[in-house]
């Protein structure tokens, strides 16, 4: 008997790397292997996404992700820790190296009553009930669940944090989650689950950093749930090295009247993709803003899927990028308004400024509306630095380089000015200045 089989597509090197890693590790991966194997099977069936996959049309991972370094083992405790960009901010700190929580480098004190932070690796070892927090947001969102990068993080994660804020509790200081590299060429896989109870509030500052000249792949999958009336401010800043890849997925669920203010600042990585899968309940308020500054041959993608499920919710998405060299930025944003989401107020904007003749920007904002009483808008612009503005500033004696700095900062100001925490905002503004000043040196 002959069984007809579909012709096997030739695997890319990165796909082969990942398959071999999974085969080698499968028996050793902690916790229930079922969900991991399921996630990997889904990934393996399609392989890395490519340009014919709509969500990855502009970010073809089959060609951009050439290889996949092996999943990171837990690093030795003697890792050198680079300077903290948010050192001046009074915060509790959870430090990860190559995706592993380092208790001795962390200080989780002072978050106050009602805030618990648990390492997932520790919970996996004991089968702790906090693990129940993992997967809930993904199960509710087929777009997120079927995403290949989400699949990889779900397959390989070894550690992460489960953060719970009890109903009504207010975190006494921000929680900084620092993701660092040991200097090894590895793939780090981290999963976080953050649950903020009814009426509770939390501030999270996330930072990602790795050295230049290192093939380091950083995968992060974060599930964030805000219960009714919860308030969260979240700033995510990444400055991965010039040969690094960063894949960041955020699955969000906002309950009734919950408020999330989210910013993502992208300053590094050769290849970066930030994706947000948001499901919005009744009368909640989601703001997410992005500032991307990339140069050389970097490729940075921000892809948002915002689904309004409950009525009368507000969503605001504003993503801006300044692109130099031969770099390329991609913005894809889809606001979907379900039939149940009457009274939705959604507005999305993507704006890019090209700082060199070979810089590129792609923008694809989309609306998909099934309710009839909504106010939704989107807009996208791509421009160069305006010569008229530049001449005006120069005619007052401001030199060309300083003029560009002022104009780039002004362009990104809508994103950075809105970061409410002064210390966080100032640290980020200083980094933007550094990047802009660095243009002169390039």
């Amino acid at each position: 008997m002959t069984i007809a089989t579909a012709p096997q597509r030739r695997r890319t090197r990165a796909e082969t790397d990942l398959e071999q890693a999974f085969e080698a590790m499968a028996s050793a991966l902690p916790g229930d292997i079922g969900p991991r194997a399921g996630a990997f099977a889904r990934f393996a069936a399609e392989g890395l996404p490519h340009r014919r996959v709509e969500a990855y049309h502009f970010t073809d991972l089959r060609s951009l992700m050439v290889s996949a370094p092996p999943p990171a083992p837990r690093p030795s405790a003697k890792t050198r820790v680079s300077a903290d960009v948010f050192a001046a901010v009074d915060a509790a700190r959870a430090v990860f190296v190559d995706g592993w929580f380092m208790a001795d480098l962390s200080d989780l004190s002072g978050l106050g009553e009602g805030v618990s932070v648990t390492s997932i690796a520790a919970a996996l070892a004991t089968g702790d009930e906090v693990l129940a927090a993992l997967g809930a947001r993904l199960d509710a969102d087929v777009t997120a669940e079927s995403d290949p990068l989400v699949g990889l993080a779900t397959t390989f994660y070894g550690d992460g944090l489960v953060v719970r804020v009890a109903p009504g509790a207010v975190a006494a200081r921000p929680l900084e989650i620092r993701h660092l590299s040991s200097g090894a060429s590895v793939s780090a896989f981290v999963r976080h689950a953050v649950e903020v109870g009814a009426g509770a509030s939390l501030q999270v500052i996330e930072s990602h950093q790795s050295p230049n000249d290192l093939e380091f792949h950083a995968h992060t999958l974060t599930e964030l749930t805000l219960a009714e009336g919860a308030t969260v401010a979240w700033t995510d800043r990444q400055k991965e090295g010039d040969q690094a890849a960063r894949f960041s997925s955020l699955a969000l669920s906002l309950g009734k009247k919950a408020v999330l203010d989210h910013s993502v600042i992208t300053l590094g990585a050769k290849l970066a993709r930030t994706q947000i899968f948001a499901r919005l309940g009744e009368a909640c308020d989601l703001t997410t803003r992005g500032a991307t500054l990339i140069a050389d041959r970097a490729h940075a993608d921000a892809t948002l899927f915002v689904t309004h499920v409950g009525p009368n919710a507000v969503s605001r998405e504003l993503y801006k990028s300044a692109i130099d060299g031969e770099a390329k930025s991609v913005f894809q944003g889809k606001i979907r308004v379900e039939k149940t989401a009457q009274g939705t107020d959604g507005r999305m904007g993507a704006h890019a400024v090209l700082l060199s003749p070979r810089a590129e920007a792609m923008a694809k904002p989309e609306l998909e509306i099934f309710a009839d009483d909504v106010a939704c808008a989107h807009g996208a612009t791509v421009a160069e630095i305006d010569d008229t503005l530049k001449f005006y500033l120069m005619s007052r004696g401001i030199p060309a380089a300083e003029t560009e700095r002022l104009l780039i900062r002004a362009f990104l100001g809508e994103v950075t000015d809105a970061i409410a925490h002064e210390g966080v905002r100032e640290a980020i503004e200083a980094e933007l200045d550094g990047w802009i000043d660095g243009r002169v040196a390039r």
């Binding site: 120069m394 005619s395 007052r396 004696g397």
Partner: protein, 251 residues
């Protein structure tokens, strides 16, 4: 102070010649008015002197206190004492007016080898000058010219002039878009800056502005050249007779 000799300039994009052998000498302490019909090259002259991109100088020279300015970028011309008050001041979203003023002043001081002005001194200077021009705190806090009325924009130009203390001020159609009250405030601001070591070139289509800013010399610009020079009476004559004579003469 300003010495322009046989200046020829064309539009870079299409090679159209706008200035065709312009000569002009302005001495320190003087106010010169340049009048002329639409299309004579009045705004082009101000743009070429300030270094706006899009023009090509094909012949001639322009020096400020003996220094050739045509090779300098606009910022360096400003640091050397040239100031252009724009006909249409530009709105710059995201750049605060105070940030802008401070960057401008300190950039110029730095270029001239002077130290930066301290923040308290700067604040005092701005408050004093803004008060004279009836510029409110709110206008100072807003982004440069954003949401300003036509009159507010022109007053903001004069504020910059007062703070930067240039040697040579070129006013490009400063009266356009101004009602009579705004015109008075702006003119008073300009007159307050008149001094023996500063010169003004006032470009205007109408005589009206010259009732408020009294010129020492009036020039008629037509088809890219100065075709007539006279005293303040020349402006009145033009107002009465129009530019028809000069258009014909040059044609």
């Amino acid at each position: 102070m300003l010495e322009i000799k046989n200046l020829h300039a064309e539009i870079e994009a299409d090679g159209r010649e706008i200035l065709r052998g312009l000569d002009l000498t302005v001495k320190a302490g003087e106010v010169h008015a340049i009048m002329g019909p639409n299309g004579a090259g009045k705004s082009t002259l101000s743009h070429v002197l300030a270094g706006k991109p899009g023009y090509r100088v094909t012949q001639g020279t322009a020096t400020l206190d003996g220094v050739d300015i045509l090779e300098m970028d606009p910022a360096l011309r400003a640091a050397n004492g040239l100031f252009l008050a724009f006909q249409y001041p530009v709105e710059i979203p995201g750049v605060g007016n105070m940030t802008f003023l401070k960057a401008a002043l300190n950039s110029q001081r730095k270029a001239r080898g002077e130290g930066e002005m301290s923040t308290p001194d700067f604040m005092r200077l701005v408050r004093t000058e803004a008060g004279k021009l009836k510029i409110t705190q709110d206008m100072l806090k807003r982004p440069v010219n954003v949401g300003f009325s036509g009159g507010e924009k022109k007053r903001n130009e004069i504020l910059q002039m007062a703070i930067l203390q240039p040697k040579l001020c070129i006013l490009d159609e400063t009266d356009s878009g101004l009602d009579i009250d705004a015109l008075k405030v702006v003119s008073e601001g300009v007159n307050a800056l008149r001094s023996p070591d500063r010169a003004f070139v006032v470009i205007t289509h109408y005589q009206r502005l010259l009732d408020h800013i009294r010129p020492d010399v009036v020039h008629v610009l037509s088809k890219g050249r100065i075709v007539k020079t006279g005293g303040p009476d020349l402006a009145l004559e033009l107002e009465a007779k129009g530019y028809a004579d000069f258009a014909d003469e040059a044609a």
